[in-house]
């Protein structure tokens, strides 16, 4: 149980830990959540977010989203904006090992009634076409040099090579390719681990889901329509995955590089070595930034190939083209990145490196980088709940400035993977879910048990807290009917 007494209540959904809490804190820490969510948070979150508050260059607050839980270095759900013009650092622990782990959502013009008779066929075929599991390899055969191109060009490479449509790119954060990715900054070992993994889901909490937008779960029909959700019981496809072994290796390589220079060369003292960092404007910091961007692009490419496979499978099962099935992208958004952005701080625009680890960018209407189609309504935000409980489509709001326009990314674990494995049995869970109308395929029973709905926070509570705090707005809640768990 969390020690809620340490916290200063700012509002019903914002709680502050003052800088007096720990020596070395440069800014206060702020945790978002209802009192219930805050009470359920692990004590380690307090410790971790206040450690983050000691990092050089941190601006305004060290933030933790309502789905926060402990992670490597930063808590998952951590947001930290570093002023790069005054010694701000970049930290792999603030981005996560699965660089650009993110969500993608695509609509169809099919209804639940039309898909229901084919759900097993669709899921079984997707299970074959989108490899899942720890060491899974993709069907895209790439040489190591091809892979270097992929990590510099992201989803653009895919579209050029026949995986998807040109218009898909405008519905991806950074248009599917972040500039400044430099393959010269990644190790051979990272390439080894990544070059055959394009088009794969991976393991852990990654999944691909067929979902339904039920009439009663549409909170804002106007906004929903703008995002392509136009009819009752419309079927959509959502998936969650990242940069696989590649991103993991990039993060590991640079953690080791930073540990060597952090104190000896730059005199940075940190409380927890898992927060290893380097000044953003140092050769090491810039090298990681360029390598991390390769991870971002690899992940965009991975999701682009998966999207293409989903279109192929639907087209095969329903005997119509993907265009005919209206399989348009809604959006692709990352929740493990650090990006250089301009934000207004106390009336002055500043260049900040915003770390979002298990936190989703949530840009407001009118902001640059929001696709033209969404300029008037704000950036779509895709939230993956647990596979049993449902997911959300949200939109960014102007009051999101308080969190550098960031919101939650999922429901957040309340139970360790091990404890979940001890509590549930995958075989039984699959049967229970099938009884509830969700057909699940998984590469591992234990992996399935880890993802049981009961191992997660209540996603509805998380999303409500984010809305009450004014960092995102609900559009649609989506209900799963078919799931492939990595």
């Amino acid at each position: 149980m969390a020690i809620i007494e340490v916290l200063k209540k700012i509002s019903d959904t914002v709680w502050e830990i003052p800088i007096s809490y720990k020596e070395g804190m440069r800014v206060p820490a702020r945790i978002y959540g209802t009192e219930k969510l805050i009470r359920e948070m692990d004590d380690a979150v307090y410790d971790q977010i206040t450690n983050v508050a000691t990092l050089p260059g941190i601006t305004k607050y060290a933030l933790c989203m309502p789905d926060g839980h402990f992670g490597y270095g930063f808590p998952i759900g951590g947001v930290a904006a570093m002023d790069v013009e005054s010694g701000g650092v970049i930290s792999p622990g603030g981005i996560g090992f699965d660089i650009n782990c993110g969500m993608r959502l695509m609509v169809t013009n099919l209804t639940y009634k039309e898909v229901k008779p084919y759900i097993k066929e669709v899921v079984d075929k997707l299970y074959q076409k989108v490899p899942a599991g720890v060491g899974s390899k993709g069907f895209v055969k790439l040489s190591r040099n091809d892979f270097r191109e992929v990590v510099e060009q992201g989803a653009r490479w895919c579209v050029r090579n026949g995986y998807g449509w040109e218009e898909d790119l405008s519905f991806i954060e950074e248009n599917g390719c972040i500039e400044g990715a430099d393959a010269a900054k990644i190790s051979e070992k990272a390439i080894d681990r990544g070059f055959n993994q394009i088009g794969t889901l991976g393991s852990g909490n990654h999944y691909l889901e067929i979902q339904v937008a039920k009439q009663e779960n549409i909170f804002d029909p106007e906004l929903a329509r703008s995002m392509g959700i136009t009819m009752p019981d419309q079927v959509v496809v959502m998936f969650h995955c990242g940069s696989r072994g590649f991103g993991h290796q990039v993060a590991t390589d640079y953690l080791q590089s930073f540990l060597k220079v952090m104190e000896s060369k730059y005199g940075i003292k940190i409380l927890d070595r898992e927060l290893a960092c380097a000044p953003f404007n140092s050769p090491e910091g810039q090298a990681y930034f360029a390598a991390m961007k390769c991870g971002i692009n690899m992940s965009f490419a991975n999701r682009q190939v998966i999207l293409h496979r989903i279109r192929e499978v639907f087209s095969d099962v329903f005997g119509r083209t993907a265009e005919d099935l209206g399989m348009q992208m809604v959006y692709d958004v990352a929740h493990n990145t650090a990006k250089l952005e301009r934000h207004l701080i106390d009336g002055k625009e500043r260049s900040l490196l915003v770390h979002r680890k298990g936190a989703t960018r949530a840009f407001a209407p009118g902001m640059a980088d929001v696709p033209e189609q969404y300029k008037a309504i704000g950036q779509p935000i895709i939230i993956g709940g647990s596979m049993e409980t449902g997911s959300y489509l949200l939109v960014g709001v102007p009051t999101g400035a308080q969190t550098f326009f960031s919101t939650a990314h999922g429901s957040g674990r309340t139970m360790s993977r091990t404890k979940a494995r001890k509590t549930w049995r995958g075989e039984k869970l699959q049967k229970d879910m099938e009884a509830k109308g969700i057909y699940v395929r998984s590469t591992s029973w234990q992996g399935l048990a880890e993802e049981a709905g009961g191992a997660y926070k209540d996603v509805d509570e998380v999303i409500e807290a984010a809305e009450l705090a004014g960092i995102s707005k609900r559009v649609v809640r989506l209900t799963p009917i078919g799931n492939i768990k990595g």
């Binding site: 380690a44 410790d47 971790q48 450690n51 402990f70 992670g71 490597y72 270095g73 090992f97 599991g133 720890v134 060491g135 070992k189 080894d192 681990r193 993991h248 290796q249 993060a251 590991t252 953690l255 080791q256 540990l259 104190e263 940190i270 409380l271 927890d272 070595r273 898992e274 927060l275 360790s416 993977r417 091990t418 494995r421 001890k422 590469t443 591992s444 234990q446 880890e450």
Partner: protein, 294 residues
């Protein structure tokens, strides 16, 4: 009866000395060892790599192999046992991995191996530099049966004491072995294998540790032996070997107060005790053991 292959997990934060420990183990343990890693580290150099379905293997000579994980862990372990049949499997996790799920998997689902122990390598110098023990490091420490507190030459004696206390507060049952460059007696890390009766391998003994062995053909009373195991004092860090009861012979494995017995095809009782200042307790331990003989 199928004998389960002992499996030891080596974990610890980045740069704490896991690879150094593995090299040391390969240098000092004369058994067939299979090392399983997420990917080839620095161990597998200049060697022929054989690609399998679930693991890639590199021959290290002397029957030892280095394996890198390609598929699911369980399939990889099966493949290693089927192809090289090692005496010991050592799994090295990456420095950023949380080992608890892996440990749970090994105990729950792997039928061909027996978890011999979790060894966590901790960098003493880093424990001084970074006062807050990270989340992943904490899980690694909590999972340990043995903590190798490495790089002690970089810290003062009072710092070392404080680190030991901190580690103990996170894990009350693990034995803490202070080392430089991971120079540790491997007997303290591994259980006894089938070749125990053959010539003992060359060891660099920890100066403060002493060991003695006891052999008998007498049959032990099981209840009495279990009480004896419970009564072993904290000076005994490690005890292992075989003990013959009326029904069969069992493998006895004792680490820092915790112990287990497992059916084993072996004749007679043969036990080794390792611990601090053990010579003073030797007679007492042997006498207690003799009381159990029928």
């Amino acid at each position: 009866m199928q004998v389960r292959t002992p499996l030891t997990v080596i974990t610890g934060p980045l740069g704490s000395g896991k690879t150094t420990l593995l090299r040391h183990i390969l240098d000092t343990v004369s058994k067939k060892i299979a090392i399983l890693m997420n990917e080839f580290g620095e161990i597998a150099i200049d060697s022929k790599i054989i690609a399998g379905k679930n693991v890639q293997m590199a021959d290290l000579g002397g029957g030892c192999v280095c394996c890198s994980l390609l598929g699911e862990f369980e399939a990889a372990v099966d493949e290693i046992i089927d192809t090289v049949d090692p005496d010991i499997i050592v799994v090295e996790t990456t420095g950023v991995a949380e080992p608890d799920a892996l440990v749970f998997d090994i105990q729950e689902s792997l039928t061909k191996v027996r978890l011999d122990g979790v060894v966590t390598v901790i960098d003493a110098d880093a424990m001084v530099k970074y006062p807050s023990v990270g989340h992943t490091s904490r899980i690694q420490i909590e999972a340990a049966d043995t903590i190798i507190l490495n790089k002690i030459d970089l810290v003062s004696e009072s710092e070392l004491k404080a680190i030991e206390e901190k580690l103990h507060s996170l894990n009350q049952v693990a034995s803490i072995l202070a080392t430089k460059r991971c120079q540790v007696d491997p007997d303290l890390l591994f259980g006894i294998g089938r070749e125990r009766v053959e010539a003992p391998p060359y060891h660099v003994h920890q100066p403060e540790f002493e060991s003695f062995s006891y052999t008998t053909n007498a049959i032990c009373d099981r209840t009495c032996f279990e009480e004896f195991a419970d009564s072993l004092r904290t000076e005994v860090y490690r005890a292992k070997g075989f003990v013959k009861f009326s029904d069969a012979t069992y493998l006895f494995n004792f680490v820092a107060g915790r112990w287990e017995l497992e059916l084993f095809e072996q004749e007679g009782t043969q036990l080794v005790f390792i611990g601090k200042q053990l010579s003073e307790l030797k007679d007492q331990i042997i006498n207690n053991l003799k009381l159990c003989e029928q």
